[in-house]
Structures are given as C-alpha cells and as structure tokens.
Symmetry: C2
Subunit: 738 residues, 2 copies
C-alpha cells in the first residue's frame, strides 16, 4: 500500500512539473455574450454542471433566465446557457424578500449586479436585501443579507419556470408541485414542468434546502392563497411555495444550501453531501478550482483581451450537456447519463470536437450516454432536455459524433451498437412526431434519394442526411463492414439530387433547390436562393446560397458542380462579400452567428486558398467577438459560437466526422495544449499579429507541413506546431485537398 501511495505521489509530482496550474479565472467574464442575443448564463455552475444557479429577470425571460431589463424575481437552480427559441427550466426559485409576500409579483428592481467565475451577486432594491450565490454540481449555496426587522423572509417558489419570448407552442407548461417545511431550518419539495423548446414530456426537479439560522416563523401557499403556519402543500396540479420568516438585525446574513435532484427529495438531500462546509467563499473556491483545472488545459501568450475572450469561450463551451450521472429517473444503468444536448445540430460542428481534443474521456462518456438513450428510449437524440428527446432540426447529427470519435480514436465506445443506432436513424421512420428524434421524411429520402417538399425542411434534411450517411459509412468502414459502408457511401451522395444546375444567382449557376414528390423542381417564382426558414419551411435556419456549400463529406464533388476550383473560389468570395438589402438594411450572406456557416470559411482550404480562410476567420474573430456583454456573434448555442472561436484562435478548425483540421490563422503568439494523454502541444505563431494573418509555413516537430490541414493524431502526439505568419499570402498550402 505504501509503495502504491508513493507511485501515486510521484505521478502527481510529475503532473505538477509537466503542467503547472495557473490561476486563469480572472480571464473568465460570465457577462460576455449575456446580451445582444448571445444568451449566455451569468450565474454559477461547474463544468457540465447539472445545477446552474442564476437570476430570473423580466416577465418574458431570456433563455438564460437573465435579462438586462426588468425586475429580478429571484434565483433558480436549473438553467441553460446560450439557447434560443422556447425557454426551458428556470425552476426552484429562491428569493430574499421583506414584508408581506405578493405571490403575483414579488420581483424587485436590482442594483450592484456582479458576476464572476463561481459567484453571482445582486441587491434587491425593493426589499433592501442582497444575495450572492455559488454552485457545485448538484447543490448551491445562497447567502442573503437583510435589513433590520421581523419580516425578513426567504421564499421558495415551486411554480416558476422561464416564460418564453418565443411562440406559444414552445412554452413551458406547469404540471404540479409540492412543498413541505420539515423543521425551522429545512424544507423540501418539487416542481413538475413539461414542454418548452424541445416539446418534451414532464420532468420533475426536487430540492432539499437547509438553513444556517432557525426561522422565527413559516408558511406556505397554493395558487394565490397564502397559508401562514401551514407546513405542507401536496400536489394538486397547482403552484405552491413556502417561506421562512426571520427577525433580523441590520445587514444580518442568512446562508442556506440547496440540494437538487431529478429523482427525489431524498436524493436532493443526499446530493448536498458534495458541499462539506458552511463557508460561502470556500464553496465558491471549490467551484472555481474545477473550472481552473479545465482552463489550464490551454496556456496562452497573447493580448489580455484575447485571453479573456478565449478563456471565457472555453468556459461557455463547457456548460452543456449536463452531467446527470446517477440522476436518471427513467432507467437504471452502469452507463453515464448526460442530458441537455441542446442541440447536437449546433454542437457537433465545433463543441464536441473541442471536447474530443481537450476532454476526450468526457466526450466518451457523453457518447456512451447517447448509446444508453438509444438502448432505452429507442433513438439517439439530436437534441434532448428534461430527460426527453427532441427536437430534430435537420439531420440525425449524433451520427457525426460517432464518426468523429472513431476516426479520432476515442476508446471505450461500443461502436457496433452505435452503428446499429445510426442505421436505425437512417432506416426507421420516427413516427407521428418527426421533430422528436430520428430522421423525418425518409420514406422519400430512402426511395427517391431526396426529401420532397411534401415534408417540412425538405432541403435542409436532404443536405444533412448526406453527411449523416457519410458518418455511417465512416463507422462501418472502421468496423470492417464493407457492404454497409458501400450502401451509405452511395447514399451520402443523395444531396446531389437537390442540385439544380439551372438556378442562377449573382452570376453563379447551380444551387440546392426544392423538389416536389414527382421529381419536378419548384419554379423560380415559387422560391428563392435567399429564402431563409424555420420548422415548417424548406430550409431550416439557412437558405440555398448558404446550404449550397453544405457537403462537408463531398467537397470535391461540390467544387465540380460549382464549375471547378476557380468558380468555387469566386463563389466563396461573393458569399463572403455580397451585401443584400433586407428590411433592416444590408446583411451579408455569411452568417457566422448561426451554425450552417461554421465550416464555409475553411472551404477555401479545399480549393488551395488557405490565405482566404485566414482573412475570413481573422475578420470574424476581430469583428464578431469581444469582451463586452454583446461580445458574441449570436446565440452561443450551448457554447458553439465559443468553440468556433477557440479553434480558429488556435489556428485550425475541424471538419466534424472526419479526421481533418483545416488550418486557418492562429492569433496567439504561443498556445500550449495539455492533453489528457499527458502529451502537450506547443503551438507557436511566429510574427502573428493583426497584420500578419497569413501562414507562410508550418512545421510539426521541425518537419514541414505543406498541406493546409492536420490530423488528430498529429495534434495529440504533442510537441511543437510552429507557424510562421506574414502580412501577405504565401504559396504555402495552395494545393487542393483531395
């Protein structure tokens, strides 16, 4: 035993020596992207935390719960970062109030709102109270400060959920709640909610709260009826809540811990065992320490501003999916359980590849969780929240995660089962609700070779299914199952069936175009290459001009259909420069604020023009990302925007599902990545500056790399990746990728 301990100690020391931990938390600013549609979450949580504790503001809430406008209601325990559409969560809300509680509206103006890594603070002006909160994975600590008086109250509202700015059918709907005051310093209960963005079945959030100060009095409510002295409210499908009353001296602070569970009040109480102290700052430091460990996976040399953007991006990209291991109320399993895949349509492109690079063991756990969902719920999700699959925006993009993983050598995955689940996506129609899971419209796709306009999102689906089919080909190939591989490689070319060579726009011929059931094309008077759409439309959150670049698995064919390399480059140039007038003025065709554009800048690499990739990505990094509250190009989409930044800041970007990272243009003089395999990669970008954006040469461990891409194994083998940067395009990397 002693020998073992010594070995462990030596290992520990060697890790220390290899990888000195620095305090990087000052580079995280939770406010970045909270406003201007970024919808990032300014509250407290640990990486992939099941509990995300933060403020609820306004009447119609933003998706993170926080809004710059409107009163503050209190602090809820289950939230999401970087979401759009109908809200989800915002449940189990506590608030420090004074006087009689007006259940209809106990909100207050706020002041001195502060957030930094691990802590959120605010003052509730109406009550002259203040609050600060911090969180671990399944628990929170709140510290509330009160004025002098006998009517200081802490309430818990079990009727709350985020009310959406979005359409009616994506609203959350209350199902039931229950509360019980156990003693003068303990309460417990739950709230049950359904629907929301993913239109999911009901989920239940249980809580147990323990307070450091005995209450002088207590009460509960049901609906709008207050019941002082009543200890319990059982579930009658009505909204309930409870409160403790305290006699406080001026500025007296009261602390309490809240355990959260999706199983039961007992488990919620048990989950508090992770919080071993009543010292608020100590809990906050524990939260910060976990983040610091994650942030230390990358060390940077560069401007303070860029480091702040980068580390905050790293922070935001590691908030979801939520680690709910041991918290699955649907089945018992020895597999990990993650929830809030929100949505893989967004995250397969950059976020999951980032996990694969930095935290492959967690990525493996997530994939095992997806397979367990397939085992028990019947389909892997394209999105999932509140323990229920839904919704699918286009393809079954979870397929791509497994292709990406197998090509990059992620171990511990039952890839044979994954192949089965992927083939189910491809072959078995998902039933009445085609937005829930699987692939909609496959009765068309699998017979005609395209999804016809009879179905929703016909063009998006067809295009995405191509790449998903290629993912099946990839996994089948790796598993040496050539017949399956061949079938899906052929099918992955189906996207070409929507390529209409006669459509012309801005001087370019050939675009992805909707086709009817009988094979005929929609006429140009019926449709437009600029027509964007949503759920019931032909393109989902994209349009033909953009989606006519979406064949990430078949780019050479795409280049050919576009008329060859030169025309393709011209077409990209037009895409990135053309400004179209719309009601609000001029907008570009390129929308880095949404995922369908994510890979397009790197398509220049395929045509041998990485200098243009550098121009576009550098411009996006410079113009679209900053350290302000509106510092993200758009909705962070569970950290997708942030992950896009991270890759390009490091100088490369993945084509997800394939073992290829396209070089773009590194912005940091030095960046060191500490991999899970204990290797480290020092990325040096000699002469890199705002002017020197063009790669002149690349060397990996002194050996020149003349192609404009790199493989995963080369990165994680570690060593030195040296870029020489210059102010003008060079000849480096000007070969097409074949």
């Amino acid at each position: 035993m002693k020998r073992l301990a010594l070995v462990n100690f030596l290992l520990f020391v060697s890790v220390i020596l290899l990888h000195a931990q620095t305090d990087l938390t000052k580079y995280v600013d939770p406010w970045i992207g909270t406003d201007g549609g970024g919808n990032t979450f300014p509250g407290s949580c640990v990486p992939f935390g099941m509990v995300k504790a933060g403020p609820v503001c306004g009447q119609k809430n933003r998706n993170s719960g926080w809004d710059k406008d409107g009163n503050i209601h209190g602090f809820s325990h289950v939230n999401l970062s970087g979401l759009g559409g109908g809200c989800k969560y915002g449940n189990v809300l506590f608030a420090p109030v004074v006087g009689e509680i007006n259940i209809q509206d106990y909100s207050s103006p706020r002041r001195n709102e502060k957030a930094e890594l691990g802590i959120y603070e605010v003052e509730l002006q109406k009550y002259n109270t203040s609050a600060r909160l911090t969180a671990l994975n399944r628990s929170t600590m709140h510290e509330y400060s009160f004025p002098e008086g006998t009517e200081s109250k802490i309430l818990v509202d079990l009727g709350t959920f985020l009310a959406s700015l979005a359409s009616v059918n994506e609203q959350q709907i209350f199902v039931g709640s229950e509360v019980r005051i156990i003693s003068d310093h303990e309460m417990e209960g739950y709230t049950r909610i359904r629907n929301g963005w993913n239109k999911g079945n009901a989920y239940t959030v249980y809580f147990y709260a323990v307070f450091d100060t005995p209450a002088a009095d207590y009460g509960t409510w049901k609906g709008d009826k207050m019941m002082p002295g009543v200890k319990e409210q059982f579930d009658t499908n009505e909204k309930t809540g409870a409160y403790f009353t305290y006699h406080t001296k001026d500025k007296q602070s009261i602390k309490f811990k809240v355990g959260i569970s999706y199983l039961s009040v007992g488990k919620a109480k048990a989950n508090l065992s992770e919080m071993t102290t009543w010292n608020f700052d100590e809990v906050k430091e524990q939260c910060v320490a976990v983040w610091n460990k994650l942030l230390n996976k990358v060390h940077l040399k560069g401007s303070e501003e860029n480091k702040k953007i980068f580390y905050t991006a790293l922070y935001h990209s590691h908030m979801q999916p939520a680690d709910k291991i041991g918290e699955n109320s649907k089945w018992q399993s020895d597999q990990p359980y993650y929830d809030d895949f929100y949505a893989i349509w967004d995250t397969f492109r950059a976020s999951h590849p980032l996990f694969t690079l930095l935290t492959p063991s967690i990525q493996a756990d997530m994939l095992r969780s997806l397979l367990d969902i397939y085992r028990y719920d019947g389909y892997m999700p394209d999105a999932r929240s509140g323990d229920d699959n839904g919704r699918v925006q286009g393809g079954s993009n979870c397929d791509i995660l497994f292709a990406d993983a197998i090509r990059k050598g992620i171990r511990g995955i039952d890839y044979q089962l994954a192949l089965e689940a992927m083939i189910k996506n491809a072959e078995v129609p998902p039933g009445g609700n085609e937005q829930k899971q699987g692939r909609g419209g496959i009765p068309d796709y699998n017979t005609k070779g395209y999804v016809s306009t009879k179905y929703e999102r016909s063009a998006s689906r067809t295009m995405e299914y191509g790449n998903c089919d290629y993912a099946i080909y990839t996994v089948a190939s790796e598993l040496s199952q050539p017949e399956i591989a061949k079938k899906y490689l052929n099918r992955s070319k189906n996207w070409q069936n929507l390529w209409n060579p006669d459509i012309e726009s801005l001087g370019f011929k050939g675009f992805v175009w909707p086709r009817r059931e009988d094979g005929s094309w929609l006429s140009e008077s019926e449709f437009s290459v600029f027509k964007n759409g949503t759920w019931p439309d032909i393109f989902y959150e994209t349009y033909s001009w953009e989606m006519s670049f979406y064949a990430p698995h078949d780019i050479n064919k795409l280049i050919e259909l576009c008329g060859g390399k030169d025309t393709f480059i011209d077409r990209l140039d037009t895409f990135f420069s053309y400004q179209r007038s719309n009601r609000r003025g001029y907008i570009g065709l390129f929308q880095i604020s949404n995922e369908p554009s994510f890979l397009i800048p790197c398509l220049y690499n395929y045509a041998g023009r990485p200098d243009k990739t550098a121009e576009i990505t550098r411009r996006a990094l410079r113009e679209q990302y900053n350290t302000t509250r509106t510092g993200l190009p758009g909705n962070d989409d569970s950290g997708s925007m942030s992950a896009w930044y991270i890759f390009h800041a490091l100088g490369f970007f993945p084509n997800a599902g394939q073992d290829i990272y396209l070089f773009s243009s590194p912005i940091f003089e030095e960046a060191t990545i500490f991999f899970e395999n204990k290797n480290k990669l020092e990325i040096r970008a000699k002469n890199a500056s705002e002017a020197n954006i063009y790669i002149q040469s690349v060397k990996l461990n002194e050996k020149p790399i003349n192609v404009n891409f790199i493989k995963h194994s080369d990165l994680i083998s570690g060593g030195t990746l040296e870029f020489v940067m210059g102010p003008k395009p060079s000849k480096w990397g000007n070969n097409e990728i074949r």
Copy 2:
C-alpha cells in the same frame, strides 16, 4: 332551498321505489377464476379502483399476484385482474413478520386464506401472524395480528414487483426506491419500476402509511443491508424498505392505513382523506357499498349458482381500467384520466360495450381520457399501463370504442377530435416501436391494401385494420363528413385482399392467407390454416381458421366469399365441432378462452340461424363458466371473459362498433337492468331452462321482434323484453341480417 330539498327527497324516494337496493354482495366470490389461468385478482378494491390491495405469492408470480402454490410474501397495493404475459405492478408490499427480517426471503406458508367482497384475510404460518385488508380507491387499511413478543414487525418492501413466468423481455425492471420513517407511527416512500408486459417507461408509486400504534423501534434497509435505527434511505437505484417493531401481547392487532399516489408522497398522504375511520369493518363496508350499488344495476331471478357466476362476472368486469383522475404526473388537464387499458384488443368486444350499457357516464369518461392521451402523448392507446402506451396486438381498436359510442348516442365526447385521432392511427406510422401505439405496417396496408409478411402479425393486422377503418367510416358518417367516410369505407374492405380462394381445409375453400410484399401468397407448405402465433408471427393469438371469420363489419361479404349462406353455416358448424389433435390431445377450433372467437357464435344470426347461436353460447356458458376457482374459460383479460358471460346470460351480444346486439339465449327467468337514464328494462325469458334454450319469439313492450337482433336505443328505452323459450329451434329470426 326548502322546495329544492323536497324535490330532491321526492326524487330520492322515487328512485328507491323504482330501484330498491338489495344486498347482492353474497353473490360475489373473488376466488372465481383465480386459478386455472383465469388470473383474477382475489384482493380488495372498489370498481375501477386505482388501488388494488392483495397478496403476493410464489417466486414467479401469477399476473394477479396471487397463486395457489408457494409462500406468501405480503400484500401489495397496485395490481391488475385477469392478465397474461409479462406481469405489471405488485408494488409497495407490506407484511407482518416476527424476529429478524431476512430480506432475501421473508415469505411464509399460509393458512386460512379467505376472500370475500371488500376483504382478504390470511395467516402467515411461519410467524404466527395474521392479516386482513380492505381498500378504497386510493387507500387501504391493513389489520395485522401478532403473537406475544418484542420482535413483532411490520415491514414495507419498496423493491418488490411481480416477477413474471413469461419471457425475459416482458419482465418488470427495478429503477429506484426511497423510504423515510417520519415518526413512530408514520412512514412514506416510493418505488420506481419500468417495462413489464406493455414495455412501458418508468412509473413511480408513492405511499404514505399511518399506524394506530406507536412503534417501539424501527429500521430501514438498502440492498441486503439492514440498518436498525436508520430513518431514511434515499434513492441510489437500489432496493429499500423499512420496518416498525412492536412489543405485542398475544393476538394483539395493529392497524394501519396506506395512501397511494402516482404523483408524490404528499398526494399519497392527502389521498388518505377518503378513509375517515379507523374502524376496519366500516372501511370494508364502504368498499362493499360501492360494489353493491354497481351490482344492483341488474336484478336477477334464476339459480343461485348462475347468479353467483353473473354477479362475480359483473365484479370482475369492472376492475379495470383504473380511475386515476387527479393522479396524472404527465400533464395537467380538466379531462378525466384512466390508466390500465389492458388491452383494448381484449376489452373493445364485450367489456366496453357493457360499460356503455350499464355505466355510460364512466364509459364517456374513459373515452375522454383516451382523447386526452391522444392530445398529450400523440396517439390513443390500444393498451396502456403505468402511464405509458403499449402494446398493440393487432389493430388500433380504440377506434371501435368511438364508433360504438357515437352509434349508441354516448354524449360529452369530442367526436371530431376522436376522428382526428383515429385518422392519425390510420395514416401516421407510429415509428420505430410499432408495438407501442398506432398501426404497424401501414406503409404496406395504405399502399398495397394489405400488410405483407415483411411485417409482424401481418394477417392479424390486415384483418383488424378493416374493422378499424369501418369505425372511422362510422364516426365520419355520423359527423357528416362523406369524403372521409367514403375513403375509409372503401379501405375497410382491404381484408378481402388477404382472402385466398384457393386454400382448402376440412372441405371448405377460401381462407385468410399471408401475402408477401410482391403480392404473392405463401405456399401451403410454408403455412397452415391451423398455425397459431404471437408477436413476431403472422397471426397474433389466433390462426387462419378462426380469423377467416373476422370481418365483423362486412359479414355479408364474408358469407359470399365463403360460398353463400349454407356453406357458411356448414363452415361454422365445422368450426364449432371439429377437434384437432395436438401435442396435448384434442382441441377444438373454437377458443372462447380468447377474444378472436368472441363474436363467432353470433355469426349464425347473420345467416338466419340464431338457434345455432343459442346452442353454442349456452354450451359455452354451461361448460366453461362455473363458481370454482377455475371457473373461467381462460384468462379473464381485464374482465372480458366475464363480460362475454354477462351479455349471453342476458340473451344478447354486441357487435362492437355497430348499433346491433345479436340475440343468443337468455338463461335467467327474469333480469332487470336499471339504466343510468333511470329507465329499466325487464328481460323475461319464459320457460327458459337448460333444455329450453331456443328462442320461439321475442316481444319488446308487447310488440313482436322478428329479426334476431336489437338496437341500443330499444334496450335503454326500457320496458319489457319478453322471450319465449322452447326445447326446439323455431322459425323465429331465421332471416339473414342484411
């Protein structure tokens, strides 16, 4: 106010005068059908009771929990009556034990087991304890008696569920449990289970128990580890339980109440409010009183034996589905909520038509509940249990319930929504799990006009879809939507596409026969008219000979395909007389023990031979039903066998989905039905005896009925329905039904 009270009093008196309540409970014997495969439930419950409290016996349990063999484990709270296949429920088990608890096996031999309406009693030999229990809708009372000692214990086991004799994939699977001892006379907790026969998602049964005697000591356990003095076990996906210890004098009895809920422990406690006394016999009398009110809907004059069979059948047919109003954890709604439709494939034929006759307001509530399930879960169920749809054995037979209801004038149903839900069944494939809901194989059925052998249960599905399509036609017609009506009337003839005129058996030509995807028939060497099957087979719990009589909506066409009336009668004669050898000896083709044969005896009426219907049904009533524990022909199937008995004993049987009751042969001299509309129908069967089984004439309110069927409105208008019976067939009713 006084006038109103007087009016009410007069109404009350008039009801009394019209309908004197008799104590009919002595005619109910809960043991009938418990053995020999009947699987009826011998424990205590109210009509449609959510709580069904009864014994759990044996290691592999029968579906009702009770078995004639094996030890008794204790008394569980959620059960089903008359089920086969994989078990469901058997949760929250209490037992009176003495000494150290062996969690692996605390079961005991039993003696003096007794059951009568409202009460179940037994002695646990091993412990020298005894128990009796009774139940209301959401609660039970137990009374346990102990020997003298300090180790008398009452345990609750939250790890229990019925372990099935059936196949592995229909087993229930434990998910989690939790328990908490609240005081020396209160405990609460839950158990969470998934799968079972319907392969449903996890459901959670919560309990709260309050005891009339303070415990001297207590403890809990987790897995197999006993923890004396430990008050709580939170959910770790392991089995838990708890116990109270008492110091008892000899024969000391301890009573306790258990509230049950599917929402929460708080709701379980609140549900105890229905039990207002600690007097065991009073609670039992409340249970009995509810039954007595139901039993009094029919008054009989006839043999005590037949009355016992009849009233017990009435009892057994009103146990399911379960009234779970206010207990739906999935959505909030102003609609009623029923669960344990188990399965409509069984119950649409006789049970639901019986509700329509005797308790139409409850039938309406059940239908409204099915529509609410459609609203929120996406499909109406063919079976549902533990709040989850599944499984569909053949057609979407809920369709037929709505056709039956609209034709029989049941009010308060949103038939337009029903039509929408029925069309969804018919048109929208249910997705990857075709056993869950909707109609499987419709990509075939809706294009080829039959389900090909590519799909499971292809012949059963095709045949049942015909009748279901006819139900859509029926509802659409009643709603004056002729285009929909026409479409589905045409489609309802699809069953004819499986009629193979070349197949010959026992001298008859033309049988339902499996067809391949390409339209070709299976060869006679590949298949047989006698081949029975289950889930993956061509016929589900039936075979071609039997299913070649299944066109309840198109019987004239069936008669024509069979070669005309005379051949059809010959074919029926053969069906009812032929004995086929199998491994266990000789068996008939007619299987009244299963539902596909339910209507076949009455097909003689359609060919103008009601005398033969009389012979077959009278023989079945005489030979297959009695007052013993094996007194049912087979699995009661939620009371379906019992409902079949009730109708034929009264002298008519419904063709479900149509407004037609076929006359068979009444066995009671007099039977009076008291309808909900306050009308009463006196059915007199003059000269009826074991010899006089043939109808000589029928009069309704003195007017002769010469056809061999009657309409619903004629029955519920009340008056006198007079049969004259005789020892020989008469000419009465010998016209074919057109």
